[in-house]
């Protein structure tokens, strides 16, 4: 068997001057009070808060704190989550009064020893922290969230669409929407108008309209140009203030209006 000889020059032995490995990050565990809103509309029970004492580290997320309750203290808490990394959009809830993703919010960044979690506003409650997304999803579908282009079918002679980086930048950030609904929950119009399309849907209407492969602009503009549509936005900016993905729905809505008002082509 041939001996494998490694060149010693490539991997020098650590000398005495090599600094010692960094000490492990120290974080004294502390205890916080987690207040969870409990309600079950199917039983017509009034909402109440259950309080739990939870040990947390510097890196503990609000979702982990809630899961600690489920694992150790009260398994009946209803909460929706999946990816735990701000990608699936399942874990939106009101945390200390503001809509946020529970998996993307560290307890330590809230600067409070009392954390209150409630279901997101403007969404029907299923139970406890889990809310119903039916309206958001059906509105999203109504925006025709796909490329409309006769020539997009794969057929003989069809070529790929060439997009420049500039073309891509026009819609890229809006395609990062994870449908978490935080924007709809923060929107002041959504608070009172149950038929409003909402920032999530309007931003998606813009995302496809601004894509130069798409030819569905006319139809989409017609869909948003209705009485509970785009004109109900007053540019309060709260949607963009809470969006965890940098989608900036408020910008998308004003740019979409630009098309309708004839300032953009």
């Amino acid at each position: 068997m041939a001996a494998i000889t490694a060149s010693r020059e490539e991997k020098p032995e650590p000398t005495k001057q090599t600094p010692p490995p960094a000490p492990a990050v120290e974080s004294a565990p502390k205890t916080i009070t987690l207040r969870i809103s409990r309600s079950n509309p199917s039983e017509n029970s009034a909402a109440k808060f259950d309080e739990f004492q939870i040990p947390v580290q510097k890196w503990t997320t609000v979702l982990e704190a809630i899961l600690h309750v489920k694992q150790n203290l009260d398994h009946s808490v209803a909460v929706r989550y999946s990816c735990r990394q701000a990608s699936c959009g399942s874990c939106g809830m009101k945390i200390n009064g503001r809509p946020r993703l529970a998996c993307y919010t560290k307890v330590s960044e809230l600067d409070s020893n009392v954390i209150t979690v409630e279901p997101m506003s403007n969404f029907p409650i299923i139970r406890d922290l889990a809310v119903d997304f039916k309206q958001l999803f059906s509105t999203h579908k109504k925006m025709k969230p796909f490329i409309i282009n006769e020539g997009s079918e794969v057929q003989p002679g069809a070529k790929e669409f060439i997009q420049t980086p500039n073309d891509l930048e026009k819609f890229l950030q809006f395609s990062y929407c994870i449908k978490c609904g935080l924007c709809n929950s923060a929107c002041p119009t959504m608070a009172t108008d149950k038929s409003f399309i909402g920032p999530q849907g309007l931003a998606q209407a813009y995302r496809y309209t601004a894509d130069n492969r798409d030819e569905g602009k006319k139809g989409r503009l017609k869909i948003v140009d209705q009485s509970h549509g785009i004109w109900r936005c007053h540019f309060a900016g709260s949607c963009s203030n809470v969006c965890p993905k940098g989608v900036d729905p408020a910008m998308a809505i004003q740019l979409l209006r630009g098309y309708l008002l004839g300032f953009r082509k």
Binding site: S121, P188, K194, G237, V247, L255, F263
Partner: protein, 144 residues
């Protein structure tokens, strides 16, 4: 199917100017000042229409407005007018798609470019102009 609580924030949530930064405060001020100006317009039409009932009725109405309370209302109207106009011009431009930033690759920590410093400056300038106009108005109305 079980009845589900709609859980909408309602007027209380809509009219809460806290939580979402300066732009939400501006939204609230625009609404309050718009409604305030509308109320003033209606009151003003009623006030000036008393002239149809003759000189005495007109003078009675005038004496009612020339009180410290009446002057305070006018100072507020001046402030509402100036803020509503200044911020209204910002909104008309922005809601046409101008000055709300350019789409691009979002970078952590994802500051929305529609909530940019120019927008904020316009809001602060509208507030400052309203405050200055109120001070000037108060000087004229309450000054000897």
């Amino acid at each position: 199917m079980a009845e589900r609580v709609a859980n909408r924030e309602g007027i209380k949530g809509m009219a809460n100017p806290t939580r979402y930064g300066l732009e939400r405060v501006a939204y609230w001020l625009q609404r309050i000042s718009g409604l305030g100006l509308l109320a003033y317009l209606i009151g003003h039409i009623y006030e000036t229409s008393t002239i149809l009932n003759g000189k005495i009725a007109w003078n009675n109405m005038l004496s009612l407005t020339e009180t410290p309370g009446g002057h305070l209302v006018l100072v507020l109207v001046i402030g509402m007018c100036v803020f509503h106009t200044g911020n209204g011009i910002r909104l008309m431009i922005s809601e046409g798609g101008k000055g709300v930033g350019k789409p691009g690759q979002p970078e952590y920590p994802y500051r929305a470019s529609s909530l940019n410093s120019k927008q904020r400056l316009c809001i602060w300038v509208s507030i400052a102009l309203a405050a200055l106009a109120m001070m000037y108005g108060a000087g004229v109305l309450f000054g000897d």
